[in-house]
């Protein structure tokens, strides 16, 4: 199938519902409970009832616990589609893509895609949820931990350093990403961190794993987010303005752990992004809003380059120019992103893309919001998915 044909297939579906539970330091609830809550909210938001739903795709975060029991929690009968999907941070977009194809090909008519996670415990540091040395692994894993590969922070520090060494990217430029996103978060009532910060604040934040400082790293959150995907025909009669699907692609780079590995320099985004844009029939300059997976500031920067919003190696100066923040020429991570709002893996960027396309961003709404791109990244820049959505039907 050509990119155009793929785009037309995807274009038969739209996102019509969005549900976001209480997010952040919300304790005493299981991931399954958050998932059910998010699904109910998304279905109600669409103006549908649970009996309209005939497909469920679900995904887990760090805590696990979201599984096929969700069907019974929601009282769903005779589903034509039910799966747990996992490609780490790329999963949210992968679910939307799979749901759209299911709708376009008749496997299901109305699919809920949900992600939920409950890794945070009271009285525990956020980093404990992702600490690899705490679980006392054996074999090569224990050797990697002894070598210093003790957390996600360590891996992304390696990626960031390589980008800095190769292209001259500076810590201040990484900081400019965090500063821009915090400025966006001020307009997002759901964001955990809304107080403005400066590059000086970023530079003063503690070093976590040099070159990464605390303000280069996302938070850890409890909560759930769901979206509802159905046909464009059905979408016309529903409660919300449809968010049309224009293009979606995945690229899981699978680089050998050896000479030639591009860690920190190029990612699967350089293949998935242009593919999704080709399906959508748009160039980077035609995209109004960017919602880019930002587990770390470096992830956002390398994705901007791979998607073609600037030349390879130029994302640091781009961020420094102020282009990414409110009033800038390239609005990026307009809800504050994973750095400042909440961390629900790939659903953080997907949910904000839906909000912006609908024009429901309130104080943070971007004035021009006809086309948005969202990204999902998993592993150590290993897994990638891209989604292009539009306010109107695919052109």
């Amino acid at each position: 199938m050509s990119d155009d044909e793929l785009g037309r297939l995807l274009g038969r579906a739209a996102i019509v519902g969005l549900g976001i539970t209480d997010v952040g330091k919300v304790y005493g609830r299981s991931a399954l409970d958050f998932a059910a809550d998010a699904a109910r909210r998304a279905v109600a938001d669409a103006g549908l009832t649970m009996s309209d739903v005939d497909g469920v795709l679900m995904s887990n975060g760090a805590s696990g616990g979201v599984d096929l029991r969700l069907q019974r929690e929601l009282g769903l009968r005779d589903l034509g589609l039910l799966s747990i999907v996992s490609s780490y941070g790329a999963t949210a977009i992968a679910m939307v893509q799979q749901a759209a194809i299911a709708v376009a090909t008749g496997q299901a008519t109305t699919v809920v895609c949900v992600h939920a996670d409950a890794p945070l415990q009271p009285e525990q540091r956020s980093s404990a949820a992702y600490d690899r040395s705490a679980t006392a692994p054996a074999g090569f894993a224990s050797y990697f931990v002894a070598s210093g590969m003790r957390s996600a922070n360590a891996g992304y520090a390696l990626a960031a350093r390589r980008h800095m060494a190769r292209y001259g990217t500076t810590s201040e430029q990484l900081g400019a990403v965090a500063v821009a996103q915090r400025a966006w978060a001020a307009g997002n009532p759901l964001a955990r961190f809304r107080e403005p910060i400066t590059v000086a604040d970023h530079q003063a934040s503690r070093v976590v794993m040099d070159p990464l400082r605390l303000l280069d790293c996302c938070m850890v959150s409890n909560g759930g987010i769901a979206v509802v995907v159905t046909s464009v025909d059905r979408a016309r009669d529903l409660a919300q303005p449809p968010v049309h699907l224009w293009g979606a692609a995945q690229c899981h780079h699978g680089q050998p752990f050896s000479h030639g590995n591009e860690l920190g320099l190029w990612t699967g985004a350089a293949i998935a992004g242009p593919k999704a844009m080709a399906m959508a029939g748009v160039r980077p300059a035609e995209i109004d809003v960017r919602e880019l997976y930002d587990c770390y500031t470096i992830t956002c920067l390398v994705t901007l380059e791979d998607y073609g919003f600037c030349a390879k190696g130029d994302s640091g100066p781009l961020a420094e120019s102020g282009a990414l923040g409110p009033g800038g020429s390239m609005p990026t991570n307009t809800g504050g992103g994973q750095l400042s709002s909440f961390y629900l893996w790939g659903m953080t960027p997907v949910s904000e893309a839906v909000i912006q396309i609908r024009g429901q961003g309130g104080d943070r709404q971007v004035p021009r919001h006809d086309v948005a791109i969202a990204s999902g990244n998993g592993g150590l820049l290993d897994y990638h998915a891209s989604l292009v959505v539009g306010r109107g039907p695919r052109r």
């Binding site: 074999g139 050797y143 002894a146 070598s147 390696l158 976590v208 000479h259």
Partner: protein, 132 residues
């Protein structure tokens, strides 16, 4: 935090036996000759990769300096800090490795490195890398 020990399992046993003898073992496909890091069991076509001695020389790809101390003092750099590196062996495979014996401020992409061996806690001996 002295006392952290690296523990072997079936897949890693030969690697740690080599390290205890001062040898850096990696893998190589007997059919196609490609080199692999020690944790990769087989070539993509399914051929079991054999254990072979690496020269023990490498270059620095990238590194990070942890705010937390190393899990064992022997795993620290010259200033005692925990420096995690990705190193590229002369044969091609990459490895995660602690950098020892270097001032972290002097590290740079492509810096030549050579293997050393340390034994944290009561566990297995492991390779680390120092400036060549």
């Amino acid at each position: 935090m002295p006392g952290y020990s690296v523990r072997r399992d079936d897949a890693s046993g030969p690697f740690f036996d080599g390290a205890a003898d001062g040898r850096l073992l990696v893998r190589r496909c007997p059919a196609c000759g490609r080199w692999y890091p020690p944790q990769q069991v087989a070539c993509a076509d399914g051929t079991t990769a054999e254990w072979v001695d690496a020269a023990g020389t490498a270059t620095l790809v990238t590194w990070g300096i942890d705010a937390a101390p190393p899990l064992d003092p022997q795993l620290g750099a010259a200033d005692g800090s925990a420096v995690l590196a990705l190193v590229e062996l002369t044969e091609g495979p990459w490895m995660y490795a602690a950098i020892v014996g270097a001032d972290p401020a002097t590290l740079h992409e492509g810096a030549p490195l050579t293997v050393r061996f340390v034994r944290p806690g009561e566990g297995e001996t492991i390779p680390v890398f120092a400036p060549a």
